[in-house]
């Protein structure tokens, strides 16, 4: 990406220095999310990458760090009526309403393709009740080729369940515990940003047995057409994503990374390697690319490339060495 090139050129002296100091080895991008090993920290976010196959002609799927598929529920869901998306300033609102094929058809219809990839596949799950979450987890536990589960407790679009799980620490803990008991797969809990204190939520799911937290899901937003005097989404409200929300996401990731000992996965508006680096420096062990997949299908791959260049220019051999190295003091 253009912006990236610019960023790395900003300090030309430094660049040259680093270039001279470093032998031309390929930096090691591997990261670890609990027991889940990734070849690089760049994953694709749930709901923005379909079931991966949609991107097969545009992205080398085997170069990604991980793929998180569209949220799966126990039964197929039709989702919300259209219109479901609207563009906003540097962002978009969506009210897809968690349309998905359901866990059974996911396993029979989508997993065979996904299994052939060398990239770890994480399944994002959602339910209307604690029991539903457990049941999906049990079904996926038995399925071959799944690297981890990501529990979506934060989707703002479904009236029943969704919001409460993600905003009440006790509820979040309950879901996490229940899913924990239903599977041996690594468990990532995905947090909602629509809370007063994200750290409280992160601690609650940490205590309840999560192996990692990912954040943020979308902020709740709205858009109105003044001519028709109607909401632009049939669902009235929707989830805001894209570069617009990056500053909020980064702040929350930084707060959570300082407060919990779990690995943190950063999500929100990531488009370039520079964006990804902000999250890694703030303490994220990996990142997810979401909305950017829509406007720049090459974003995730470019970020992997950009991280490599950055490490070379900064004279770092291993990506893990830069995680959480943000300097906030006056040193």
């Amino acid at each position: 990406m253009k912006e990236e090139a610019v960023l790395l050129e900003k300090n030309p002296e430094k660049k040259v220095e680093a270039r001279e100091a470093v032998p031309c080895i390929m930096p090691d991008l591997r990261v670890q999310i609990g027991s889940l090993a990734l070849r690089n920290p760049v994953m694709t976010a749930s709901g923005t990458f379909g079931y991966a196959r949609e991107f097969e002609n545009l992205v080398n799927l085997d170069r990604l760090g991980g793929i998180i598929v569209k949220g799966i529920s126990l039964h197929p869901k039709p989702g919300n009526p259209p219109p479901r998306i609207v563009e906003t300033a540097c962002g978009m609102l969506n009210a897809i309403g968690l349309e998905n094929v359901g866990v059974d058809r996911f396993i029979t219809g989508k997993m065979p393709y996904l299994r052939k990839l060398t990239t770890p596949v994480v399944v994002n799950i959602l339910g209307d009740s604690v029991e539903e979450y457990s049941e999906i987890a049990r079904k996926l536990d038995g399925a071959e080729g799944i690297a981890a589960l990501e529990i979506n407790i934060s989707c703002p679009n479904v009236k029943k369940g969704g919001v409460a799980f993600g905003t009440v620490p006790e509820m979040a803990a309950k879901v996490t515990e229940a899913v924990r008991r239903s599977t041996t797969l690594p468990l990532i809990v995905k947090l909602s940003p629509n809370v007063t204190d994200i750290v409280v939520m992160a601690r609650a799911v940490e205590d309840a047995g999560a192996d990692a937290v990912s954040l943020i899901n979308t902020l709740i937003g709205m858009s109105i057409d003044p001519i028709t005097r109607r909401p632009r989404l049939a669902n009235v409200i929707g989830g805001l994503s894209g570069p617009a929300i990056k500053p909020v996401a980064l702040r929350m990731v930084w707060q959570v990374a300082q407060a919990v000992s779990l690995p943190v996965i950063g999500i929100g508006g990531i488009t370039t390697a520079a964006d990804a680096l902000e999250f890694l420096l703030a303490g994220a062990s990996a990142v997810q690319v979401g909305t950017a997949n829509f406007y720049d299908p090459s974003a995730a791959e470019s970020i992997v490339q950009g991280l490599t260049s950055y490490l070379q220019e900064q004279g770092e051999d291993c990506l893990v060495d830069i995680i959480g190295t943000l300097k906030t003091g006056t040193d």
Binding site: K2, G47, T48, F49, G50, E54, F55, N57, L58, K70, P78, G79, P81, P82, P83, R84, I85, V86, E87, A89, C90, G91, M92, N94, I96, E99, G242, P243, T271, T291, N293, F294, Y295, D296, P297, S298
Partner: protein
């Protein structure tokens, strides 16, 4: 079929009407695969506002590796696109969508309103170049005024088609609504292809269904990804929601829940 993300140089830019532009782009990979009715997703600017790509029908695809887009300035994306110059590069993803089915059933009638004419020129050219065009084919085109219509109408005529026109202001062709012309034509054709404003297509579909003539419609909805991943572009089909970008944009009119589209 396969799609590509490609930076494409603008090699031609024409202003057909005050707010109607035609861009020609060097897009060899996309041109090689493109089928009539397919579209591309265009990033109109390097910055992040507007954020999303804009969908445009492939208006023409040439053997020299170029494709053309025909568009009207409606909002900020199209306004920015209109300001791009020859020599600029645009980032395109395409060709996308299913395209028209034009394997059999002739004679045909192509009905385009406004920018809905864009994909129909490609279709007409393809019918012509694959020897599928017949003397009984009809082209009905409508727009607000003459200047939006004349250069396009001439291009259809040059292929040998009979072209009938309608404009809102009567500045060329019949004054009024393009589907009003359909009554005379329908009994003579086997297949209708239509793209244009919603009201127009609704009317065309109704007439076709009454006359039991097959009708393919090309739909427009708001799109984020254009490749079936975001689930943002769905409309109501007879058997549940369908994704316009992937299962369309061309649909057999009978398969849509037209009142809810």
């Amino acid at each position: 079929m396969s799609e590509f993300q490609q930076k494409c140089s603008i090699i031609g830019r024409d202003r057909l009407a005050p707010d109607v532009f035609r861009l020609t782009l060097q897009a060899p990979k996309i041109a090689a695969e493109a089928q009539p009715g397919q579209f591309v997703m265009v990033r109109v600017i390097d910055g992040l506002d507007p954020l999303l790509r804009r969908p445009f029908s492939i208006h023409r695809s040439c053997a020299d590796g170029s494709i053309s887009l025909l568009f009207k300035v409606l909002g900020k994306g199209t306004a920015m696109l209109a300001r791009r110059c020859v020599g600029d590069e645009l980032d395109l993803v395409g060709p996308l969508g299913n395209g028209f089915d034009f394997s059999d059933e002739r004679p045909v009638c192509l009905i385009g309103g406004g920018m809905g004419i864009a994909p129909l020129l490609f279709l007409a050219e393809q019918l012509h170049s694959t020897g599928r065009a017949t003397e009984k084919d009809h082209i009905l085109l409508g727009a607000r005024t003459k200047d939006e219509l004349t250069p396009l109408a001439d291009e259809f005529s040059a292929l040998g088609y009979t072209v009938q026109l309608a404009t809102d202001d009567g500045s060329i062709g019949r004054k009024g609504f393009i589907p009003d012309l359909l009554g005379f034509v329908l009994p003579t054709v086997e297949q209708v292809y239509t793209c244009g404003p919603h009201l127009m297509m609704e009317n065309v579909v109704r007439q076709c269904q009454q006359a039991e003539v097959h009708c393919q419609v090309s739909l427009e909805t708001h799109m984020a990804c254009g490749i079936g991943a975001c689930l943002g572009c769905t409309v109501n089909g007879k058997r549940g929601l369908v994704r316009v970008c992937q299962q369309g944009p061309v649909f057999n009119a009978d398969h849509l829940e037209w009142s809810l589209v």
